[in-house]
């Protein structure tokens, strides 16, 4: 089992990254982690999800958004977060089920797409791909977050 806290630098645990340090085009990862049946169940509970919505031909799948607690791992491993980051936008596509009865090895990679200012606030946008142990994408995302100063 890999808990997100094991691989995601936590705010305050290491010096955080100021906006100026983020570099457009920077590569993120690869970083690998295991989504276990225990994580799948904990995520169902923590996100107030209904597991019955994710049963395929009698087999229990995870909510595909179980990836979300790991979402920032690639970017935060490269750029440890400062306190007060606020998520602004997320686009996410899912391609394959993550099953609830087995452990799924996931490898995440990404790229800093852009950094920009809007209405006096500073934002970073990055793209991530989360693939299984065969290299097949499980999910892709485009995420934008606000870095306070």
């Amino acid at each position: 089992m890999t808990r997100p806290s094991e691989i995601k630098p936590r705010e305050g645990s290491v010096p955080g990254t100021p906006y100026a340090t983020f570099a457009e085009g920077a590569q993120l990862g690869p970083v690998s982690f295991d989504i276990t049946p225990e994580i799948v169940q904990e995520y169902f509970t923590a996100s107030q999800a209904d597991p019955s919505l994710y049963v395929v031909d009698g087999r229990q799948a995870a909510a595909p958004n179980v990836i979300l607690p790991y979402m920032t791992v690639p970017v935060y491993q490269t750029y440890p977060p400062i306190q007060g980051i606020v998520m602004a936008e997320l686009e996410m596509n899912w391609h394959r089920p993550i099953w609830a009865d087995e452990t799924t090895r996931v490898t995440a990679t990404g790229t800093i797409v852009s950094k920009f200012e809007k209405r006096g606030r500073k934002y970073v946008q990055w793209r991530g791909v989360f693939a299984d142990d065969k290299g097949q994408p499980l999910a892709e995302l485009l995420n934008t977050f606000h870095v306070p100063e």
Partner: protein, 111 residues
């Protein structure tokens, strides 16, 4: 299609445990107020998870292989709020909390 959830601090704390963050804006009321919010903030991806359930409900197993979720977090969700997410027939997503719009986006399938 609609879903309503009453937001509590223990819910935020539970999501924080699996999320593994230590961002005090989710846990320290005084800090959140100092930053200009009404209180601690529900994690944005936690809001997204509420909307994702609506996608699963609408699209069934196709949601796991072709699901597309777009969420833009535009307002805070704090303990004590009634969070309501609604998806229209064409997949437009709107969520309100405490009577104000806090998230917009879409819940659709890839072609």
């Amino acid at each position: 299609m609609k879903r309503q959830i009453e937001i509590t601090q223990p819910m935020i704390d539970g999501y924080g445990r699996i999320n593994g963050d230590n961002d005090i804006i989710h846990y320290d009321h005084d800090y959140a107020v100092q930053r200009g919010f009404r209180g601690t903030l529900l994690h944005g991806p936690h809001m997204t998870a509420f909307a994702a359930d609506l996608g699963a409900k609408r699209y069934g197993k196709d949601w796991l292989t072709r699901g597309k979720l777009h969420t833009k977090w535009i307002g805070p969700v704090c303990p004590g709020d009634a969070f309501v997410a609604e998806v229209t027939e064409n997949g437009e997503l709107t969520a309100t909390s405490g009577g104000k719009t806090v998230m917009v986006g879409s819940v659709t399938l890839a072609g």
